[in-house]
Structures are given as structure tokens and as C-alpha cells.
């Protein structure tokens, strides 16, 4: 014991010193985001607002995105109930992702960079680092829970009680810890840090999608989903601490598994090891497109699989929609009056979400060229007859192709499962799904264009494109809930695109955004052609 964890306290203090700025941004940023919307929700809840929102939120499409509520009548849907219902899952998801990224960056990544090797040469236990990182993440999430609870209580709203507020905070903190322990296990299993990051995020995404299915069909099943243990605490309504206790037990078990896995492997190795390679290269590798396809292969395959699964998971919800409409007269009338079927309306919303996800892949492929540049992988290539145009356009075209295939798989997965779930009652066919999906193609192009522009002129901002994607995603996500001013909603590129099949196709917008995106790519190329290569600086 002593032997394994020696000096972990030193490392723990060291991490706090190294990360203090990040920790402050993490706690305050996520804390205020989670707790700070109380006044905005009070605004929504005025007059008939709460009842109206209750009806809206009964829609399976909404439940699949934000989660369920235990409230059974509109009259009981208080401000606190609404806040927990609409905010908790999303904030918990963020907390999980941030914590998972942080854990991988301090474990597997440091190993890949050779820092761990140096640290281990001192009198430091073999597992001291993992223990220190987990301790750091637990501390951060504990503080985060307190900040959220404190801020929410400070508003003094009637239905936002102190114990509910602290339960709300604790649920988000617990979500962070769950994300951290999942990442710690993945850091042991995967052979590289990018593999560990990818698989951790993949698991988090999968848990989110699975709970979308179980929340709509039978909430009880969400209780076996780790992501369910956050929002099923139902702060302000049931104030149920049991899910959190389950989560703590689960986390402890997972950490023990992670430590056991770590104890059994060599530094720098993973459980999924690699085979011996080829002596000579295959023909398909021997070109710039061949090289970049190979370099991006892992990322592309895993994301493309993820798109199919995400599409399929949302598609499975379609079967429950008619049953929901039959049980809810108000909603049933609403859809009859508007002349739009519930399936069509759901498709429009979900497609926006799915294609937002699809945009991640092209951004990653374009950003890859810059990370290759800083890692000095291209130094020797620059001295060959390979042109900058080849490097740039290969990456951009590969990104666009990945976007096209991504949309195909996401809408195909959604459509195929939806149609089989609906059976004969189907009001939309496969073609509608593909059309609705490719309708968002300009937005994928636009994100690719932004990433390309950054690559050419300010390559360090390439990561910021993810930030804008997250922002537009959040804006569209909350756009359905909050009443945002038109100009504000339009700062997200997807807001310009009509949601098919409910809204008609808008050729002018489709072409305009596509042309702007291509222009961004060309501008990016002009910068890339003449800028200095960074080379590890």
C-alpha cells in the first residue's frame, strides 16, 4: 500500500499548484452556468408559463433530450421542478466530459509525453499519480457542488430550497466524479491518450443516448444507467439522495478496478496492445491522401460508428410517440391544429442535434493537420515536393467527405430504426430522413470552413471552433426552452437553416451558407500558403 501510493500527497499538491487557474475557471464557469439561470427561469415561469412548459416538456422529443420529471400534474410543476428538469442533465453531462478530459490529460497523456517516466524515477509510488488525480477531481467537484448549492440558495426563490439546491449541486459534482472514474479505467485499457479520450467520451455519449431511450419508454431502467444517477435524484421535488449513494459506491468500485488494471500493466502499455507491423508500406499509404486517411482512420471509424448508434438510439423513440399523443389531449390537439405530425416535428429537432454531432468529425480532421505540424511530424515532408496546397486541401476534402458520410450514417441510422419502430403507422419515409439530414449539410461545411480558416491564419484557435459548435448547440438546445431574441438565436449557424420536414427547404440559404463556407476555406488556404510553419514552438 505504502509502496504503491508513496508521495501521492506531494503530487496532489503539485497538481493543485499547476492547475489552479484551470480549477477556478472550471468551478466558477460550470458553477455559474449550472446555478445562474434561476432569474431567467423565473421569467419563463410567470403567469401560465409553468403549466405551458409542463405540457411542452411532456413531449418524448424533449424528454429524450433533457430527461424526465417526477411531477404528474401541471399544478405541481414549480420553478424548482422546472429548473432541475431542464438544467440538471445537461450540466451533469458537461461536468462528466470536463472531468474525463482532465483525468486523461493527467494520466495517460503524461505517460505518452514521457513525464510519468521522469516522475517515477523519484521516490514516487507506481499508482501515486492516479490517486493524486482522482483526489484532485473529487476535491474540485466537491467545491463545485458547494458553489452551485450556495449560488442557487442565494436567489431565495420560494421553491428552490437549500437542501434541494445542495442536492442539485451534489448531483452535478457526482456526475463529474463518474466521468473521472470512467476515464481512469479507459486510461488503463487504451494504448494511447487519444484512444483513452475517445473511448471515455464515447461511453459518456452512449450512456446519454441509452438514457434517452429508457427515459421515454420506462424511467425505471434509467436507474441502472450511471448517467441516470445524477438527474434521478429529482432535486426540489423528491430530493432523493439514493442515486447519489449508488453513484458513490459505483465510483469506488470502478476506481478499485482501475487501480487493479494499472497495477497489472507496464507503463506506456495498454491492455489492448498493438501487433507487429509491416516491413514495407502498402501502396495505399504512399501518397498524401493515403497518409492522411491512415492518420485519421481511427478517429473516423469510431465517430462514424458513434453516428449510427446515436441515430439508432433516437430512432427507437419514434415507436412511443403515438402512445404519448393518445394519453395527452392538449398536445394531441396542438399537433392536429398545426397540421404537422409529431414524428415530423421530432425529426426536425433531432436532426439538428445529430448533425451538430456530425460536425465534430470534420473539425477534428482539419485540426489534425495543425497538431501534426506542431508535433514535428511533417518536418521531413516539407522538404519534399509535397506542396502546402496538397496538405491543406487533402485535409479539407477529407473532412468534407467525412461530413457527407457522417450525415448519411446518422440520418440512415435514425430513419431505419424509426421506421421499423413505427411499423405501419409511419408517416415519413427514408427519403424524408435523408433530405432532412442533408438539409443541414451547409452547417457542417460552415464548421469545416471555420476550422480551415483558423488553420490558415490563427492555427491555435482551431480548438475554439469546438467552442463555437458547443455554443451553437447550446443555443439551439435552450432556444426551444428560453425565449431568445431573434438576433441572438441567429448567432448559431444552424438557426439560419429551416428544420425539415416541418419547414420547407430553403434553397437560397442552403446555397448561401455553402458558398460562404467554401469562401472561408479558400481564405484559409491563402493564409496557410504563406504563413510560417510552427514546428513545436
Amino acid at each position: 500500500m505504502q509502496e504503491k501510493f508513496a508521495r501521492s500527497r506531494v503530487l496532489f499538491v503539485q497538481y493543485l499548484k499547476r492547475d489552479w487557474k484551470k480549477i477556478i475557471i472550471w468551478i466558477l464557469g460550470l458553477g455559474l452556468f449550472s446555478a445562474g439561470f434561476v432569474p431567467a427561469f423565473e421569467e419563463i415561469g410567470k403567469g401560465q408559463g409553468l403549466q405551458g412548459m409542463y405540457e411542452t416538456m411532456q413531449n418524448p422529443a424533449m424528454i429524450s433530450m433533457v430527461g424526465p420529471t417526477p411531477v404528474e400534474t401541471a399544478a405541481d410543476y414549480t420553478l424548482g421542478a422546472m429548473y432541475a428538469h431542464e438544467m440538471l442533465l445537461f450540466c451533469g453531462l458537461f461536468a462528466m466530459i470536463i472531468a474525463a478530459l482532465h483525468v486523461v490529460s493527467h494520466t495517460r497523456k503524461e505517460e505518452d509525453l514521457g513525464l510519468t517516466e521522469l516522475v517515477r524515477s523519484f521516490q514516487v509510488g507506481r499508482q501515486a499519480n492516479s490517486l493524486a488525480v482522482i483526489a484532485e477531481v473529487v476535491l474540485i467537484n466537491f467545491l463545485l457542488a458547494l458553489v452551485i448549492g450556495g449560488v442557487m440558495t442565494s436567489y431565495g426563490a420560494d421553491t428552490i430550497s437549500a437542501d434541494g439546491a445542495f442536492l442539485f449541486g451534489a448531483s452535478i459534482g457526482m456526475a463529474g466524479i463518474l466521468g473521472a472514474v470512467i476515464a481512469l479505467v479507459m486510461a488503463q485499457i487504451m494504448p494511447t491518450s487519444s484512444g483513452a479520450t475517445g473511448s471515455s467520451l464515447g461511453i459518456v455519449g452512449l450512456l446519454y443516448i441509452l438514457r434517452a431511450g429508457t427515459d421515454v419508454s420506462n424511467v425505471d431502467f434509467s436507474m441502472i444507467n450511471p448517467m441516470g444517477w445524477t438527474y434521478l435524484a429529482y432535486p426540489f421535488t423528491k430530493n432523493n439522495w439514493i442515486p447519489l449513494i449508488v453513484a458513490i459506491v459505483f465510483s469506488v468500485i470502478v476506481v478499485i478496478i482501475a487501480f487493479a488494471l494499472e497495477g497489472g500493466r507496464d507503463m506506456g502499455a495498454g491492455y489492448l496492445s498493438e501487433r507487429e507491423g509491416r516491413e514495407s508500406a502498402k501502396k495505399s499509404l504512399l501518397s498524401v491522401p493515403g497518409l492522411f486517411t491512415k492518420l485519421n482512420k481511427g478517429v473516423m471509424i469510431s465517430w462514424l460508428i458513434a453516428f449510427v448508434i446515436m441515430g439508432a438510439a433516437y430512432g427507437s423513440i419514434y415507436g412511443d410517440m403515438q402512445a404519448f399523443l393518445e394519453s395527452n389531449e392538449v398536445m394531441s390537439q396542438m399537433f392536429t391544429i398545426s397540421g404537422v405530425s409529431i414524428e415530423e416535428s421530432f425529426t426536425g429537432t433531432i436532426m439538428m442535434v445529430l448533425i451538430g454531432m456530425v460536425s465534430i468529425l470534420p473539425i477534428a480532421i482539419v485540426n489534425k493537420l495543425f497538431s501534426e505540424e506542431t508535433r514535428l511530424h511533417l518536418s521531413q515532408l516539407y522538404a519534399t515536393k509535397v506542396t502546402r496546397a496538397q496538405l491543406y486541401w487533402t485535409s479539407v476534402i477529407l473532412a468534407i467527405a467525412a461530413g457527407i458520410v457522417g450525415i448519411l450514417l446518422a440520418s440512415g441510422g435514425l430513419g431505419a430504426t424509426a421506421i421499423s419502430a413505427m411499423g405501419d403507422r409511419s408517416s415519413i419515409n427514408m427519403r424524408d430522413f435523408f433530405v432532412a439530414g442533408y438539409n443541414f449539410f451547409p452547417s457542417v461545411l460552415f464548421f469545416t470552413g471555420l476550422a480551415a480558416l483558423a488553420l490558415g491564419w490563427a492555427p491555435r484557435l482551431g480548438k475554439a471552433v469546438y467552442g463555437y459548435l458547443g455554443y451553437s448547440f447550446a443555443l439551439n438546445y435552450f432556444g426551444g426552452i428560453l425565449d431568445l431574441p431573434e438576433w441572438f438565436a441567429k448567432t448559431a449557424v444552424q438557426s439560419w437553416i429551416p428544420r425539415m420536414p416541418v419547414d420547407p427547404f430553403d434553397a437560397a440559404t442552403f446555397i448561401a451558407i455553402s458558398v460562404i463556407s467554401v469562401a472561408l476555406m479558400v481564405m484559409g488556404y491563402m493564409g496557410y500558403r504563406k504563413r510560417d510553419m510552427v514546428e513545436g514552438a
Binding site: S280, A281, L285, L376, Q380, E535
Partner: protein
Amino acid sequence: MTNIVKVQGLQKSFGKFKALHDVSFTVNAGEVAGFIGPNGAGKSTTIRTLLGIIQRDAGDATIFGKDVWKDSLEIHKRISYVPGDVALWGSLTGGEIIDLFMKLHGGGDKTKRDYLIKRFELDPKKKAKGYSKGNRQKVGLIAALSVDSDLYIFDEPTSGLDPLMESVFQDEVEKIKLAGKAILLSSHILSEVERLADKVVIIRQGKVVETGTLDELRHLTRSTVTMVTQGDVAKMASVNGVHDFKQSGNQATFSADNECINDILSEAAKLGVKKFESVPPTLEDLFMRHYEV
């Protein structure tokens, strides 16, 4: 056209930091130019400018008479480059990466590749992330030496290589030099430069402070003389051209200006010389002379 590389008054700044103030030198066909200087002196920046990876602020730089920025592709068809820190894709094997580099350069020689893999004792089946620093360096060197070029640019190519492999590298460089190729060799290992280089370019804080053949440089510098005499050797201290005089008993050690060597010898003869040794300065002495003081 004898000048393969011609650099004149090269300047480059990164923000406020001026990395290159004034760099000028030439490299000719059939010649190895040693490019030496301490860390941060601007060696790699100069090389990256030559490769068209970064753009110069002022001055002229041509390779094969062509502008290194505007005509970089034309130039790149006929050059090979090995960086000081060869970074490789961890998921590809050494063999795959060598093939890729050869293909992207064009005109590689498969038998030469296999011969070099054997000579450098590289395991080409291993994934690159398992390679040590020296093995990564070998991948870069094999790829660069397997293709036919007219100019070879090596930026500290032997860092991490063991002495046996260093000497394999030096053999190979001598071969390409005899074949009439031009070689720009940036290195910290002065013995390597001394063995290979026909010409030395010394750079310090972004400026070329010395350039010429080793003989020329040596001539400008003092030789170290050790002598033992019958008479009182202390008299030598006051002879013109003698510096840093040190005496122990009848033995004296001092540095001597090369143009005064005749005066020194005739003074010494009067004292009755029992032993006289004159050692020309090593490259290390030359190098140190520019950085001390």
C-alpha cells in the same frame, strides 16, 4: 554554377525577438559545409528558411540559383533533409514511414533502402512509437539517404545515435560527397564536423561570425606550443607573438601567433631546444574562442 546554396544577409524575427541578424554563406557542389553554433544561435531557423517552412524578413537565399520561398517545390525535388528531432507517426512502422518519405520525395532506390536498413541495424517492422530517439533518427537518415538528391541538409542528424552508427553515418556522407553532392551539416559534434567538413560556418546570436575552410580558420588562430629548453625558458615570455605563457621548471606552454612562429623559433634556438611541439587549434578551440570572452 558552383554555388548550390547561397545565402546573403538573411534576417528573420519572431515577434520582437530577432532570431537572425545577418547570415551569409555558400555551399558548393562536392563540398560539406559544417554549420556550427550553440543552442539558440539560429541554426535551425536558417535551415527552416532554406526549406521554405518559414519566410525570411530580409536578405537573399537561393538553392540551385532559385529562390527558397518562391520556388521551394522546384528545389525540393532535388534535396533531402533530416531534422534534429525526427518525430514519427506512432501508429506506422519504421519501414512504412521510410517508404512513404521515399515515395513523396520521388525517385527512391529500393536496394539502397534495404542496404541502409541493414547498415544502420534498424528493425523496420516495429511501430514508430516504440523507437528510441536514436532509432527515430535512423528512420529519418535512411529515408533521406535512400533517395537521390543534389543537396543534403542535416540538422544535428546524429543526436541520439551511438558512436558506431555515427561512424556509419559519416561513411555514407563521405560517399555522397565524393559523388559530387553538396551537404549542409549542422552539428554540435565538432569531431564529426572536423572529419567531414571542407568549410565551416560559425554562427552566434543570429550572425555568422566566421566562415572559411578549416585551414583558413586555423591560420587565423594561435597554435599551442609546448617546449623544453636547456637555458632559462622564462625568456620566451617576452618574445613577440607569445601569449598565455605558463612555466613549470624548464617546460613552457604558450599560444603563439602563426605569423610570428619564425621569431619564436629563432629565440628558442638560442636557449637550446630539447623538445618543441606545436599543435594547431582544434575546431573546439576555434569554437570556444568565439563564445568565451
